[in-house]
């Protein structure tokens, strides 16, 4: 491995830990009652977002889902503003009005929705705007295996496919739509193979392998920037925790969950690879420790911030109230 490769890979490892530590901080905030609502963390799915980060440009757009933290970080959304929003603070990205499912960052073209499948039509709108402006920016609409069964998925692909719009539909297939297993309800073995029905390119990648994921996302974005039309990129992965925090997970056994963590943890898998390439345990431990400490410090700082002023609860409904 060249020195350049080594730096790049260490940076990927750092990002994996940065993202996981971020969601660990969210879990801690929930335990401390700083977050009072629903929380969906992405632990186990870090490699997909890390794989996006190297290809995304500021002028690209990402429209994400209810499980959006890693995508936001990959798009360059400010960590502090994001965590403050998740923790319902006045200094949050959305002044405490959005919360964890609804972060909006206008400067970074990042948004999300808590409604499964609803991200794709919005991403389609960005793609159409880029097309009209003859820009080579791309719009990334993130979906899960659950979203891939919505009408919005189909309708979006019809329009994007027919007009060859610069849309990348990234399907994070963790094989569970809450409790419903993908193989139990999908008419096809993969989501990617449905791409041919829309005349677009379908790609399939192991979303627990950060290198493979980075390459696949880079290839998909190159194809789209070059005018090749939409791509459905399906990344398989495992959701380690419940659909939401507090999910009793009656739909899978403890053994199954332990098996997933043992076999498909993208951080552990990557560490093994880097060690095989000759990086030392102490180097890797240092990266891990630094990211954990940074997230802990950030959380401590944010927990001390005030909630929004209740007098402003009706502000921001319309533009004249800004």
């Amino acid at each position: 491995m060249t020195e350049q490769d080594q730096t790049l890979r260490l940076e990927r490892y750092r990002r994996l830990w940065r993202f996981r530590s971020f969601d660990d901080a969210c879990l801690e905030a929930l335990r401390r009652n700083v977050i009072h609502g629903e929380l969906h963390v992405g632990i186990g799915q870090e490699a997909i977002a890390v794989g996006m980060a190297e290809s995304l440009r500021r002028d690209d757009a990402v429209v994400s889902t209810h499980r959006n933290h890693f995508h936001a970080l990959a798009k360059g959304v400010d960590r502090r503003a994001l965590l403050a929003e998740i923790c319902e603070k006045a200094e949050g990205l959305c002044r405490g009005r959005g919360g964890h499912m609804h972060p909006f960052d206008v400067e970074n073209n990042f948004s999300a929705t808590g409604i499964v499948g609803a991200s794709l039509p919005v991403a389609l709108g960005y793609a159409y705007a880029f097309h009209l402006r003859q820009s080579d920016a791309i719009a990334v609409g993130i979906a899960g295996d659950g979203s891939s069964h919505t009408g919005a998925f189909h309708e979006t692909m019809v329009i994007a496919g027919a007009q060859k719009l610069p849309l990348l539909v990234l399907v994070e297939n963790n094989s569970l739509a809450i409790s419903i297993r993908f193989d139990q309800i999908s008419p096809t073995r993969t989501v990617a193979e449905r791409a041919s029905a829309y005349g677009v390119r379908g790609m399939h990648v192991d979303g627990t392998d950060v290198d493979a994921m980075t390459d696949a996302f880079a290839e998909a974005s190159r194809h789209i920037r070059a005018g090749g039309g939409p791509v459905i990129l399906e990344a398989t992965c495992a959701r380690f925790r419940g659909h939401f925090e507090g999910d009793p997970e009656g739909y899978r056994s403890r053994e199954e969950r332990q098996h997933l963590r043992a076999q498909f943890d993208p951080l552990r898998l990557y560490r093994d690879r880097l060690e095989a390439f000759g990086l030392t345990s102490s180097e890797l431990d240092a990266v891990e420790a630094a990211e954990k400490a940074a997230a802990r410090d950030l959380l401590a700082e944010i927990m001390a911030l005030p909630q929004p002023d209740p007098e402003g609860a009706l502000l921001y409904r319309f533009s004249e109230e800004v």
Binding site: C94, G96, G98, P121, A152, E155, F318
Partner: protein
């Protein structure tokens, strides 16, 4: 802009135009003025819109800015949201208001809420232009539904009644940074401008009519009649008939449901002591109750001798004409109701 200051300007004679042609011209003016304005919808390009409200636009602006969409409302309504977030000003045409059900998600969870959910940081300049109202097309093609959209926080809801307002309110809607539901009345779109009772001359330049300003169309002593959209024309006709009988009706055109100008209605009702709200939308949980309540809150229940409502009595609009006439307010129904009120306390 106020209608009277424009009356003296030289104007093109548009009296033979259908209302839909005036709407198409209004959109064209805004598209020339601002390159970020674009239209998406079914049959708006080659066909020029099922009512002709986008006729000629494809030729002038091309398929990029006048996008003929597949029957995929959920995708293209959400596309409007994404376009607005990307800095464009989309006008999304949903052929009939009844069809908003298939894409309500993007309207009420995305367009309406994102400005608030973003703490005011994300603007949402989008117009959902659609046609409502009863034209004998039965339950799934004859609704108004403005009360439904008004109930959902974050949407401005507009329902013009006459050519001058159709243009001015549409111009305001396209220039607004907020999501606007702009509801045309199907029964008016193909009507000639000269056939409107309220046909203020249309100036040869763009103008806006502000949201949230109701207008008193006829001065009256006995009953305040507040309504909007096509029912305004019915109310004006009813007022003429009642005038012959010595009953003087003050007709107020609300123009917009959100914001709702209850002040103008309350001032009028405080004078006449009688308020009738006529609404082509459903009766319960809607505009008529909301307006009555706001007026009562403002001037107190003692200030009014009578408060009544006339609206579609919570039933799907029936197909047979005899049944439709029984449930959708018309001129005769309005006359009867006002007459009864005027005879009362």
């Amino acid at each position: 802009m106020n209608a009277s200051t424009l009356a003296t300007e030289a104007v093109t004679d548009r009296s033979g135009w259908q209302l839909s042609a005036l709407i198409a011209e209004t959109i064209a003016w805004e598209m020339r003025r601002d390159p970020s304005v674009l239209c998406i919808g079914e049959d708006i390009g080659r066909a020029g819109g099922v009512f002709g409200a986008t006729r000629g636009l494809l030729d002038e602006f091309g398929a990029g800015r006048i996008m003929d969409a597949p029957i995929a409302e959920m995708a293209f309504a959400g596309m409007g949201v994404g376009l607005a977030q990307a800095g464009m000003r989309p006008l999304v045409e949903l052929m009939f208001v009844d069809f908003l059900g298939v894409c309500l998600e993007q309207i009420f969870n995305a367009a309406a809420k994102i400005p608030y959910m973003s703490g005011g940081r994300q603007k949402m300049p989008i117009v959902f232009k659609t046609a409502g109202g009863c034209i004998g097309s039965a339950a799934q093609h004859s609704q108004c539904l403005w009360g439904l959209f008004a109930h959902l926080p974050g949407l401005k809801v507009v329902a013009p009644s006459n050519p001058f307002d159709y243009r001015g309110l549409l111009t305001s809607a396209i220039r607004s940074d907020d999501p606007v539901i702009y509801i045309e009345h199907k029964g008016q779109l193909l009507k000639k401008l000269s056939d409107f009772r309220n046909n203020t001359p249309i100036p040869d330049r763009a103008y806006t009519v502000p949201f949230g300003r109701a207008v008193v169309l006829t001065k009256g002593r006995d009953v305040t009649l507040a309504t909007l959209s096509s029912m305004v024309e019915h109310a004006l006709e009813a007022a003429l008939v009642l005038e012959q009988e010595g009953i003087s009706v003050e007709v107020v055109d609300l123009r917009t449901v959100v914001p709702l100008d209850h002040d103008t209605v309350a001032r009028s009702a405080a004078r006449t002591g009688r308020l009738l709200v006529v609404d082509e939308d459903y009766l319960s949980f809607g505009l008529s109750a909301e307006l009555c309540m706001r007026v009562i809150e403002q001037i107190g229940p003692g200030a009014l001798r009578q408060v009544e409502r006339l609206a579609v009595p919570d039933v799907p609009v029936p197909a047979a004409l005899a049944l439709e006439r029984k449930v959708v307010p018309g001129v005769d129904m309005i006359i009867d109701r006002v007459r009864t009120m005027a005879k009362g306390a």
